[in-house]
């Protein structure tokens, strides 16, 4: 159930992280240039942000409910250790909600500068909020800052637990950049679909700007993500060797381990995969002959489900690499030809890139969460020790699925509606057509 809520919430978080910054950038362009086009664009995006934020607020609330609904034992034992992260997150949420109210309803009512300023706390709060949540997750992966005595956490140092954690930084940066990639590709993808639909009509200036801004961000962020991901993986290699072993399907501890692409893990080895000798050792420890710990270092009931972890990881890396390629192609065309790519295939790829980036995002999250199983707090608390004693979970789960499906349909509907609505602003002029296409993919 938490998994479901997370999958719904995470893409919204990406918009929370990246979207305000994009809107503010466009509004800033408007203030600098006086060009109505940017104003229209910023206002349209604001409406989308308003709808997405409202959904983000409720899914976020549900997540906090679920801390108690599903994991009361986890919360009751460790609330004192990790709770601080969420308490501060609550404040970030507050700032976001307050200033989003001012920002959305303040268009044309506050002076342009004040209005722009009122948007800045939204972007900052999106950042601190994700910092806090990630700090809790990093703690679950790499717990510290407390002693466990007879099932109770004693000698608790919440600050050390949350922020002096070597896992926090790679995870945070990884997530933060993912936010820009997902929001960038989804938004650009929506405009790419629009372009494909009205082909062969040339895109208007408005459409090109609306496509170029998020796409440039995503294109710059996606190659960087590969480097950041590699950094995060090296941290996993040292601190959570079992997760790495599951990611790679490495049954036995091996010196100079090889890396397998694709394939299916069964009976202690990866079948049908392409093996690249010694690459795993090289990637994980910068030494082609390094020893990589295998799954056999822990008993079978302490191993995560290998194929789930492996496939999610490969999915994330595969999609991430393709996205990075797409980004590089775009940047190349941009720099060499000084224009947007014109090939239809590029736009088809871009239309796919949006949903694909969400898949990669969720796959990445599955990798880190399932890779930690059967632990909820790594090597401290088992997941089945954390779960609620209340019955009726399946009923609740089914209800929640139905409600979320309803909400999902609603979101798609509202975004189509918003996209179809003419803004009818004075001076919008030539560039602003009403044919902005739906973002039917969120």
């Amino acid at each position: 159930m938490q998994a479901l809520s997370f999958s719904v919430h995470i893409p919204l978080v990406c918009f929370g992280i990246a979207f305000p910054a994009m809107i503010l950038f466009v509004e800033w362009l408007y203030l600098r240039s006086g060009d109505e086009l940017y104003r229209t664009l910023a206002r349209r995006w604001t409406r989308v942000m308003a709808a997405l934020f409202a959904i983000g607020v409720i899914t976020g609330t549900i997540l906090s409910f679920e801390m108690g609904l599903l994991w009361p034992a986890f919360t009751s034992t460790f609330g004192s250790v990790f709770g601080l992260g969420f308490a501060v997150e609550g404040f970030s949420f507050f700032m976001e909600a307050i200033f989003i109210g001012i920002y959305i309803y303040g268009w044309d009512r506050l002076s342009p500068k004040t209005h722009l300023l009122s948007g800045i706390p939204i972007a900052i709060a999106g950042m601190t909020g994700s910092l806090m949540v990630i700090s809790v997750n990093a703690w679950m992966n790499h717990p510290s800052g407390f002693e466990l005595l007879g099932g109770k956490a004693v000698d608790v140092h919440p600050l050390t637990a949350l922020f002096a954690n070597s896992f926090l930084w790679p995870e945070l940066v990884h997530m933060y950049i993912a936010g820009y990639i997902v929001a960038g590709f989804l938004l650009a993808g929506a405009y790419a679909i629009g372009r494909l639909r009205k082909y062969p009509l040339p895109p208007t200036r408005y459409e090109r700007t609306a496509l170029a801004i998020p796409l440039t961000i995503a294109a710059l962020a996606s190659p960087v993500q590969i480097l950041i991901g590699d950094w995060a993986a090296r941290d996993v290699a040292t601190a959570q060797p079992i997760k790495l072993a599951a990611i790679e399907g490495l049954a036995r501890t091996t010196k100079g381990a090889s890396e397998h692409l694709l394939g299916w893990y069964t009976q202690g080895q990866v079948k049908y995969g392409i093996a690249i000798p010694k690459l795993l050792s090289l990637l994980a420890f910068h030494n082609p002959n390094a020893v990589v710990k295998g799954l056999d270092t822990v008993p079978a009931d302490r191993q995560p489900p290998v194929n789930v972890v492996r496939i999610s990881f490969q999915l994330m890396v595969g999609i991430g690499t393709l996205l990075a390629l797409l980004g590089v192609v775009y940047l190349f065309v941009r720099i060499r030809r000084k224009r947007l790519p014109e090939s239809l295939w590029f736009y088809r790829a871009l239309a796919l890139a949006g949903p694909a980036s969400v898949v990669a995002l969720i796959a990445g999250w599955v990798t880190t969460e399932v890779g930690r199983q059967p632990w909820v707090v790594y090597k401290v608390m088992l997941t089945n020790e954390a779960v609620t004693g209340a019955s009726g979970i399946p009923v609740g789960y089914a209800t929640l699925v139905l409600v979320y499906i309803g909400v999902g349909i609603g979101v798609v509907w509202i975004l189509r509606r918003l996209a179809g609505m003419p803004m009818g602003l004075p001076g919008a002029g030539d560039g602003v057509s009403d044919a902005e296409q739906p973002r039917g993919v969120v």
Partner: protein, 411 residues
């Protein structure tokens, strides 16, 4: 006051804010349901929607604040409550989802029919959530939530007379607060008709809420006698008297159409009830568990208190700003001001030579980032690497800005 009680005080303050502010938002939903048909009903619904739209998200976050501080400072209490009362909590959750979704969807409605169906969903969820949360408070007050993972009864824990009473009381106070606030909002925008309708509603709802609260004492007398006795002694009694007085003053203010002042006295009346409950129950949180025993270790408490106080320093000015803008009508819908056109100053955006320089800087940053993050091993090098990579993204983006503008302008 001890250290271990301070977070509880924060929780109660948060709860009061939630009950008053979000309660009024829920109440607005209730009035949407009771608005009736026809043009008049549509006007009332529209007014209720407009009044709460800039603030409801911020008001809602008080609930998150209450939850997070509770589970940090009193983890066992939170876990016991949430697991035993998982059903009402779940109902409240569904209500919250539907409400938020209905709010988000409303801006996309085109026809009156769509709008009224969305409003109905909104209104029903506005009833569901406060009622469910009220039954939870009732269950805690009636001592039906034992300590432990789902240790209490899944149904009877929250369907007792006290729970139902508090659930209904939550609805009545929400409707009452909302009517007072909406009347004040109507007075501000000069809608005489709406003002009169909500004045009547405020009077009726106020008297109803007061009657339910008094009848509630009878229920408490039968259901939770110890709480009843403590409620009528000492500080708790004082809080109740404050509440009754504030309620009476509010009715008089509403009758005289002094709505702005009535906002505060109405809020006081409701806040005093929460305070009375807290005082009557102190120091026991759950049966056999006092505040002191439930509190988290010392270090956590200190950090939570510092965090909350630090957060409050930022939060309250921001909230004050939001409410000032709202109460002055600066965020009201209506006629738009003409958009002021700023002076075109694109030439100064970035000088002509900057793109080349920025692009090169971006390249250098990328290279440095790769070196420090991927090849080097030390923690400090990784930090530099990450900064360099961010530098790459920012420089790259800025380098792209002018070229983004230039070719497009020809169209």
């Amino acid at each position: 006051m001890h250290l271990y009680e301070l977070p509880l005080l924060f929780v109660l303050v948060g709860l009061v804010f939630y009950v008053v502010l979000a309660g009024a938002d829920f109440g607005a939903g209730i009035w949407q349901l009771l608005a009736g048909r026809g043009e008049r009903g549509a006007l009332i619904r529209e007014h209720a929607h407009k009044s709460i739209s800039p603030v409801w998200e911020a008001n809602h976050v008080w609930l998150i604040f209450v939850l997070t501080v509770t589970w940090t400072a009193y983890p066992t209490v939170f876990a016991s409550i949430a697991s035993t009362l998982s059903i009402p909590l779940f109902i409240a959750a569904i209500g919250i989802i539907l409400r938020g979704a209905a709010y988000a969807l409303r801006s996309g409605t085109a026809s009156a029919r769509e709008q009224s169906s969305i409003d109905t969903v909104f209104a029903i969820s506005s009833i569901l959530t406060p009622f469910a949360l009220g039954t939870m408070v009732g269950a805690i007050a009636a001592r039906r939530v034992p300590v432990g993972n789902a240790a209490g009864h899944l149904f009877s824990s929250w369907t007792g007379p006290t729970s139902i009473l508090i659930g209904v009381l939550a609805l009545a106070t929400s409707a009452y607060l909302a009517a007072v606030f909406l009347a004040a909002d109507a007075a501000r925008v000069g809608e005489r008709d709406l003002q009169a309708s909500f004045r009547t509603r405020a009077l009726v709802a106020g008297i109803t809420a007061g009657a339910i609260a008094l009848a509630g004492l009878v229920v408490l007398h039968a259901d939770v006698h110890p709480l009843y006795q403590r409620l009528l002694h000492g500080d708790a009694l004082a809080a109740l008297i404050v509440s009754i007085l504030a309620g009476a003053v509010t009715l008089e203010l509403v009758r005289r159409q002094r709505f702005e002042t009535a906002r505060y006295s109405a809020a006081l009346a409701v806040a005093a009830v929460v305070a009375g409950w807290a005082l009557a129950q102190n120091p026991v949180l759950l049966p056999g568990l006092t505040v002191r025993e439930a509190a988290a270790p010392h270090d956590t408490l200190v950090v939570v208190i510092v965090a909350v106080l630090g957060g409050a320093v930022i939060l309250f000015p921001s909230l004050a700003l939001l409410f000032r803008l709202v109460l002055r009508g600066q965020l009201d819908h209506g006629e738009m001001l003409a958009a002021p056109t700023p002076a075109p100053a694109l030439g100064t955006l970035l000088s002509a030579s900057a793109p080349g320089l920025l692009a090169r800087a971006a390249g250098a940053c990328l290279l440095a980032g790769f070196g420090f993050l991927t090849l080097a091993e030390a923690g400090w090098a990784h930090a530099i690497g990450v900064v360099a990579l961010f530098g790459f993204m920012v420089c790259g983006f800025l380098a792209d800005v002018p070229s983004q503008l230039a070719p497009f302008d020809r169209n």
